[in-house]
Symmetry: D2
Subunit: 384 residues, 4 copies
């Protein structure tokens, strides 16, 4: 991706959330630094002023703020203020923080699910459009080279008509009541007020988006059952969904946080009339591709068999595994290419990443799943 | 399994169906011969008398009949007549053939689904009980050693409370309209009058039974969508089901005959509060077992880690792969042990295999899936 | 393989060795029975008359002999005597037993290594030729369908010029001094007088033969180190060999009986100028085939991608795994086709199996490895 | 690794080599940037002044030099001059460049093999020691978390006595005469004057080092055959080696650049009296661990089963794959910890990485392989 930079300079970036005890903040910093396309200059890293200062100093940040409002105001007043903010707070804070920075005139890079309620997502979408600002959503798995490769294959018709989509995202980390131990990640992710949804929000939304980005299909309706298996848990830790896509394809989605044997098992199989593909996030450098009636091919990242979409986010030769941070970094670099093109008035080319449009659809998906489950699993239409 | 034989002699066996162009008949013959516990003596191998004679001669059969009625009558009149009949016809013939042989006083070994309509299965169950005859159903996958091992693990509580069951059986052989080419297997298996169900009957029933035998859980209700993806096909070639088990476990079942990339991909994952297991029929000698919080273990058939239930149907040392016919043969040997124990008035010990009870529940499952799908996928209760 | 039978009838078979406590005898019986091409009629199953009688009765054998000489004499005198003998004794008995039955006019099917000393193998070869009898050697791995497929690929030039052969056969069952526990298999297999070689004879010879049959290359010279890692063991339990083939290909062979993590891990990779293949016995239904510069293909047994040589020993549809006994049975059926063609004066067609020629070359390989190791690993030429 | 930083600040880094058309230079830059422990300030990135300037400008480098001598002189004269130089030139330039920077008082981070001739490596070792400077060698695979985990397992005796080491590093990128196409990487890597060795130097040295770092065993002697399979090639493209370790362990090493089917297949198996382990670089997040007599465990990076050595270079939760750049970055961070500890007079703790000592032993290994091969593969002792 070093070569992909056609515009000079780096994006001036700020971060909200991601302080002490956070997991995803450090990942975003690695990702932003990966291809040297960002400079992290400012932060309000924690909901407490004290923790925010301490976290910022530990990172050697130049400009540390007590809270995000102070940061939005101060940075917008500086000539060298940040151009974009990265939001990695718990989910319930995404909307107010994003709103503040959009109103302060800054681009937003926000973790998923973009909001808890779809009306907030609609508000943010309208606001970003009104201000002419970019609103990117970090569905990071969409930037894996073999996911991009799969997406191009579908677009080009290599699979024929899509018939079946099987997608799952299964983990084991909440199989016991970890939230009762005070572990910070578990605590907010199992609190409905902060997380909105449990398994469905945290990982089900990723599974949905992976199918969405690869197939380009849009959901018509679904039937879902949410479960809370761990005693004392007040949020779903497992979700199973039947899917009907517009145009006739059918699908199934399973997300679970209580599945021993699954570490971070995000997998997808797409079945079409002319062939099928299979990809698993834990072995992300390989895509299994079976043309109907022929042997399965193992298409390897970095090999001559990759198409342009896949090659775009691939960096190193085949057989040298790329991983989670590489793909997260690729997503950041795609966003940087877009932002630099805006800054310099150029064409971002094929730069591609999820935006508030995807984010909004994701929240609508979560809401539809929750609505179906509340009715005992009845079929529920997706709003347009 | 040579050692498992505690009673002398072989079962005198007849076969109905399984002549020219059949697939499963040859498999049953291999299976019956595997451990040398049966003698195949008689057959009505085809629905046409001429083909039946030709097929019987090709196999070197001693007693060849024009049709099954003639066979039932003649064999029951002989002192050295067959003791058991193996039924491997298309599904719609299972019920009349089984009835004829039960009425002639012979044990029945019948392919699945045991009947098309549950009332027929109930009739056969009543008849077998009334006559005191054995009615075995060849859900062959249940005899794989690692399936038996998994079953014992669940029974012993190694997985804790079962929470989630994910099972699939996906193939690709009907992804194109093979039935229009005159291929005999495809022709009857896509004919509703002969097959009853398509993917749901042919392979969905195996997937159901695999979950049933391993977990011992009973279904409470389900929501299902059947699809016929291939143009011109008048039977389902794909089925997706949400499952609710009594006691609170949840499940998903996918069966497809139109999935390039899947050859004969029968897989199951069972998730419990204390651990999870995963097994795939295409690599049947290994069971993946993950105790909660510990590394996954690869439990290998034939190794010291196998439990008694698994070891019972395992023959050769670890690393020497057993396969489909070995497991089918193990099922036949379990049935033989039972039949010989009956003949000699002994105790069959731990011999275990699906019976008409399982067969009936399987038909009820298929009917419930079809009923749910007809209502657009509404939740449908399983009858008791 | 049912269909492969073009000649009527079954081969009348006898067995020497394979009684109580034996592993491989039961496998040979399963294999002979698999396709219903043999009738096991006579046996001298143990070196003690009493055990021989007991073992024979347990199997329901018709004609049980106290020893092999008695059996050779008696069977040759009968009009319905056996046509072929299967020899599954410890290695040191292969030569005298085979000689006795050849001299009595019977075909021989002998386990490997065919003899301990190459002069004995030469003697048996001369004797079989002189008498016009078949001498088959049960290198069973050569009958796996994907091995046959690989062989045909090499013959047809799909791999271009062969450059490198990497083959290994690693097990763990002798990692501890099992022979000191009285386990019968371990006892004779670690006794130089009975086994001849340890790892090199028991499994190294299989690894050699697998490379030999797939590539058709002939060895020029080798350098080897034999090791006896387990304290108290007086025979090799690990062997490592560098290989030079005629024509310039190079290879490496590792065989070990002391490798935890390896159950029965016979694997081969053949590298050519136009592509490479990889196969592993523990997952025998798949061959990995990589044309130079293209993605790896997973060629599946039973699929449309199989060539004629592979299809010949394959029975059931793709995705229904065949295993060790299926392949062993295929070898027996190939031998039966040959023997029946002889009996009926017909053409055995493409029936193919290792013979005394392969057996002799195998013994010469073992002797060369032992000779090299004795000199500290110096390069040693293979005799022509 | 963010947390691992116990000393403030970043290392001021320069780079020699790694300009246009280079592969490994970009990797080193990614690695140095990964954990934000370095600032790349200066470079002489190419052997031509013009290309060096152009490459430096493309990277936005602050101080660009025409050649390395100029850079060494100028940087040593600045108060804010670089503290360490990273050398990523073709192999033949390692020695003169390293010498120049050591003499200018800077630490060296050098790619492998550290030199072509062992006398140069000895000279550099003496010089570094004399000047009290660090000389790190970037055997990057040694920094993978599961490699570290394996190393600690061996040190703690989990495997018992090491008996067998099987290591391979196979690629396919030079299976055709790529160097004749003008591809820059292929050109110098197949030029004996610039590369020293072919497969043995480029990847065989990595395979050797992987075994070296995990087992801690030292070689006693070896027998090797180098091959040049591709017509017209004047350097080895395949190497096969038998190994004898001090203390009695035996090993085999294969490295190949002409193996279709192998992309970057660096694998190792270590067999001990109490268990065995297996690791493959292409799936680096998993270590297979088999205690003798028990099922194989899949030990996953980031899981609770990791030991301290493995956890030290692991960053993100299990199931989120780390890859090649993550491990290369971990190596750089280990070196940074060491350099910062030196700068601040503190204790670097468990920071661990290969140094000139390992580099020298690696060159001696390469020379021994070349010497053995020249004698036709005779056993050759390793110098102490």
């Amino acid at each position: 991706m070093e070569q992909a930079s056609i515009f000079p300079g780096r994006i001036r970036l700020g971060m909200v959330g991601g302080g002490e005890g956070a997991f995803i903040g450090a990942v975003h910093r690695h990702a932003a630094r990966f291809d040297d396309r960002y400079e992290l200059l400012a932060g309000a890293l924690s909901s407490s002023a004290e923790a925010s200062q301490r976290s910022g100093r530990a990172l050697g940040l130049e400009r540390i703020y007590d809270d995000y409002q102070q940061m939005a105001t101060a940075e917008s007043a500086r000539e060298d203020g940040i151009e974009a903010v990265c939001i990695v707070t718990p989910n319930h804070m995404h909307a107010p923080v994003a709103r503040a920075f959009l109103e302060a005139g800054m681009h937003v890079i926000c973790d998923k699910p973009v909001t808890i309620h779809s009306e907030d997502a609609r508000m943010l979408k309208a606001l970003a459009e009104e201000r002419g600002l970019l609103f990117a959503v970090t569905h990071n798995y969409s930037a894996y080279p073999m996911v991009r490769h799969a997406q191009q294959m579908v677009r080009e018709g290599a699979l024929g008509d899509i018939r079946v989509v099987q997608v799952q995202y299964a983990q084991d980390w909440l199989a016991a009541p970890l939230e009762q131990s005070g572990q910070k990640q578990a605590a907010w992710r199992t609190d409905p007020a902060k997380a909105g949804g449990g398994a469905i929000g945290d990982i089900g939304s990723h599974a949905w988006q992976l199918a969405d980005t690869i197939t380009g299909l849009r959901l018509e309706s679904l039937a879902a059952q949410l479960s809370s298996f761990v005693p004392g848990r007040v949020i779903d830790d497992d979700v199973q969904v039947l899917l009907r896509y517009k145009g006739g394809a059918r699908g199934m989605l399973w997300a679970s946080q209580v599945a021993p044997g699954c570490t971070n098992e995000l997998r997808i199989r797409v079945v079409g009339s002319a062939g099928g593909i299979e990809w698993a996030q834990e072995q992300p450098n390989e895509l299994y591709w079976t043309p109907l009636g022929e042997p399965t091919r193992i298409v390897t990242r970095g090999s001559a068999a990759m198409n342009a979409a896949g090659a775009r986010t691939s960096r190193i030769p085949a057989g040298h595994p790329e991983g989670y941070i590489d793909a997260f970094g690729a997503l950041y670099s795609e966003i940087a290419t877009h932002l630099l093109a805006r800054r310099h008035g150029g064409d971002p080319g094929a730069a591609q990443f999820p935006t508030i449009d995807d984010g909004l659809r994701g929240v609508l998906f979560i809401e539809a799943v929750q609505a179906s489950s509340r009715t005992g699993g009845c079929w529920t239409s997706m709003p347009d």
